[in-house]
Every structure is written in C-alpha cells, then in structure tokens.
C-alpha cells in the first residue's frame, strides 16, 4: 500500500486500478470524495446528518462493488456523482425529512455565480444572499433543485451533468434554463427581494 502523499498525486483512474489490486487503496478514493459527496447529498435532500452518512456509506459500497464497471473514458467524479445521485433518489423516500426544513450549504462563489446567472443583483450582504437562495431552492421541485445544485453549487459543466443524470447535454441545457425560470418564479412567489 502506498502512502497518502503518493496517493494525492495520483489520478482517480489510477486509484481505481490500485484499489482493485489492494482493497486498502480504496480508502484514498474515499478520502478524496467523502467531503464533496456528503455536501452534495445534503444539498440534494433535507435528511439528518446520520442519514446522510448512511447514504454516503452505501454510495462507497456501491462504488467498491462496481469498480470493474468504471469506464475510464468517463470522468470518475461524474461516475461517483451519478451513483450518489441515484442513491439519494432511492433512499429519499424511505427516510424522514428534518422538521426544520431544507438548509443548503452554499459557498460564496456559488451564491454569486447563481445570482449573476439568474440576472439578479446581489445586495451587499453575502450571508443574506446565501440564506435567501437556500430558501428559494427549498421551495423548488426536486428536479429543478437537483439541476441547479449540480450546475451552480457543485460547479459541474454540461457534459458532466449529462453524465451524472444520464441525459443528453441539450436536454441538460434546457433543464437548467427551465430551472432558472422556476427559481425566479419561486422568488416572486415567496416575495423574496435580493
């Protein structure tokens, strides 16, 4: 087994190959994606932290079992996000939502990017902007929220989103446009002024 510094320099695909040779190497992939995926799961659904961790564990188990099915022509991150996305959808119905509702962790850059793309002028207070975006996202249909999360919060490009949700890039583009319109409608509905 190699050390952590060595693993850090390696590509995802190399780590997949090494994980197939030695199970212990799989933990380097786990470490690389654990934080990102947990954050993604929390952005997609309003479940408890424990439930989110359970989903994450299921994701890594599925990834491990299907390592031989990974297609190196595809980005590993797209593949693991796809598995996560599907796992969230299949687990979501079984799990109870948190009573306090949906609160998304949004980075400053993502909030500004979303605001700019939706053509709304952000005020001076970034915290308020993030809070309001989170509130609007919570009011959206799951399908619109999913696509906006991938595009703006996870900062995936069209091709990556296409590979994650298994839809053509053209369809992804129209879904994003539609989701942005829905975001604006929701903003008006909730009488939120940004």
């Amino acid at each position: 087994m190699m050390d952590a510094i060595e693993a850090e320099k390696m590509s995802d695909t190399d780590l997949v190959m090494l994980s197939l040779e030695n199970q212990a190497n799989f933990l380097y992939l786990v470490d690389r994606y654990k934080g990102k995926l947990l954050s993604y799961i929390r952005r997609l659904t309003n479940i408890s932290d424990d439930d989110a961790e359970d989903i994450l564990q299921e994701v890594f188990i599925k990834v491990y079992l299907n390592l031989n099915g990974f297609d190196p022509d595809l980005k590993f991150s797209s593949w693991i996000y796809r598995i996560t996305h599907n796992q969230v959808i299949s687990s979501h119905r079984k799990l109870k939502a948190r009573p306090e509702g949906y609160a998304v962790n949004i980075e400053d850059k993502a909030a500004l990017s979303l605001a700019a793309d939706i053509d709304i002028e952000a005020g001076a207070d970034l915290q308020i902007l993030k809070q309001k975006i989170s509130q609007i996202l919570a009011g959206l249909d799951q399908k619109y929220r999913d696509i906006l999360v991938l595009k703006f919060l996870e900062e995936k490009n069209y091709q990556e989103i296409s590979d994650i949700i298994r839809k053509p890039a053209g369809t992804v583009a129209s879904m994003i446009n539609k989701a942005k319109k829905e975001f604006k409608k929701e903003m008006a509905k909730q009488k939120i002024i940004i």
């Binding site: 199970q23 654990k34 564990q57 188990i61 079992l65 099915g69 296409s162 839809k167 053509p168």
Partner: protein, 278 residues
C-alpha cells in the same frame, strides 16, 4: 462526521460482509448482451424491411386503376401492415438497445430513433437486393400458418372471383391464352385469357406459374381474364405443399377429364367450352 470513524465503519462493513468488486466479465457480459441483442434486432428488423419492400414493389401498382377507386384507397388497402408493425417492433428494440449502451444517454431520443430507423431501412434495402425479401416470403408462404390472411394479404385480395379478381397457379398447357388454373382453395378454373395474352405478349403465362387476374366470372368456374399478371409475392404459398396436394389431386382425378374439354373444341371458341364445362 468523524473521518476515522467513517473509514473504519466502511472497512468493517466490507470485511464483515465479505464484499469484493464484481468481476470484470460481469460488466462486459452486460455490454455484450446489449450489443448482441441490438445487432440481432437490427438484422431481424432489416430482414422484415426487405420483405416489406418486396411486397410493396409487387403490390399491383400497374393495375391500381382497375382494382381500386383511388390511389389513397389503393395505398391504404394494400400496405403490408403486418410487416410494418413487425419491423416497427424490431426498430423499437434496436432503439432500446442503442439507448442502453454505455453512451446511449448522450444522444437525444430522436437521433437514436432516426439512426435505428435509417440503419434498418438501409440494411433492409441491401437485403432486398440480395433477394432475402423474396426468400423469406417464399419460405413463409410454404410453411407459415395464416400466411395468406395475415402476412400477405395480397393473396386474399386477389382471390375474390365475385369482384372480378382471381389468383392461382396455371395448371395446364396454355393454348391461345386459355388455361386451367387452380385457386388457393384447390378449385379448378377455366380461364379465357386470350385477349390479354395475345395482345400483350405475356410470355410468363405458362404452366406452373402463379398468376393473378382481373376480369369477370362468366359462369361457374369459368373466368374471362382481361388482365393477367404474375403473382410474385405469394408464389411460395402457391407452390407450397398444400397447393401441391391440391394440384396433384386435380391432375389425378377430375382435371384430366376437364382438360380434354379444352382440346377438341379449339381453345378460341369460348361458347363451346362453356357448354362442355357445364
């Protein structure tokens, strides 16, 4: 989330449940099954298309004004619906397989559907050029049940003496355009076809050839043919085992006597023949 604790839980679960990556062949097999069933669907769909082209080519276009009131009626009544549905089914299976290939999701539905359709039509055209459509029609005509009512409705369309259409296989020598014909039910007809045969020089009118006729039933099983055309799709049926039995029975029993009726009176003298047949 405690990083160490999460990793430990994950490793413990993998170890406790003896989990291991599924073997590579498992995924390859899945891909091969999709590819193989897609290829099979393409080949069957294309073969179906070749039969469709064959049936459409010999649909009786040249006599449509005599057989139908309008082009639209002709078109709607003579389309090979069975084969259209059958090829549609296989084009759909091909589409489904293409959609489920590794990269299938990247293409819009219409691109995949159109590719499957174009590939089936193109390959079907090639198959047709190599005679596959005819071969399939002949084999089905010989062996398939419901061939004449479902797979090739031209046969039942052309066998309707009450409406002036007759089909069957020429079962005698042809003299001055007149001949005996055994229809698909095994009945024997005397056909007076001299006008058509003489004027048009239809040298295909020979013993053993399946034909379809337009004309009029004069009386009983006497038919005056105004137009004669070779019955190409359906010839497998008319040359098949069932018809062979009918034709065989015909030549051994009743037909020889009737055939004699043709000869002494002179083939051109229709009146005499009618009396003798009666």
């Amino acid at each position: 989330m405690d990083k160490q604790e999460f990793d430990k839980k994950l490793v413990d679960k993998i170890k406790d449940e003896h989990l291991a990556p599924k073997p590579r062949w498992h995924f390859l097999l899945k891909d091969y099954v999709i590819m193989a069933s897609g290829t099979l669907a393409l080949l069957i769909g294309a073969a179906t298309v070749s039969v469709m082209i064959y049936l459409l080519k010999y649909n009786g276009w040249e006599l449509r004004e005599e057989t139908h009131k309008s082009i639209l009626e002709f078109f709607l009544l003579t389309l090979p619906y069975f084969w259209i549905i059958f090829s549609g089914l296989f084009i759909f299976i091909l589409y489904y397989n293409l959609k489920h290939t590794k990269r299938g999701y990247r293409y819009p539905v219409w691109v995949i559907a159109l590719s499957g359709f174009v590939a089936s039509i193109f390959l079907g055209g090639i198959f047709y050029l190599f005679g596959l459509g005819q071969k399939i029609d002949n084999v089905l005509g010989e062996r398939a049940p419901l061939y004449e009512t479902v797979m090739n409705r031209q046969l039942s369309f052309w066998f309707n003496p009450g409406e002036g259409r007759l089909a069957g296989i020429i079962n005698s020598e042809v003299q001055a355009g007149n001949f005996y014909l055994v229809d698909p039910t095994g009945s024997l007809w005397l056909v007076m076809g001299q006008a058509s045969a003489d004027a048009r020089g239809n040298d295909f009118v020979q013993e053993g050839v399946p034909v379809s006729l337009i004309g009029e039933t004069l009386s009983g099983n006497l038919f005056r043919a105004d137009f004669i055309r070779p019955l190409i799709p359906g010839s497998g049926y008319l040359n098949g085992p069932k018809m062979k039995t009918n034709r065989g029975r015909c030549s051994e029993e009743a037909c020889p006597r009737k055939r004699l009726n043709l000869l002494p009176g002179g083939i051109g003298s229709g009146t005499i023949i009618i009396e003798e047949i009666k």
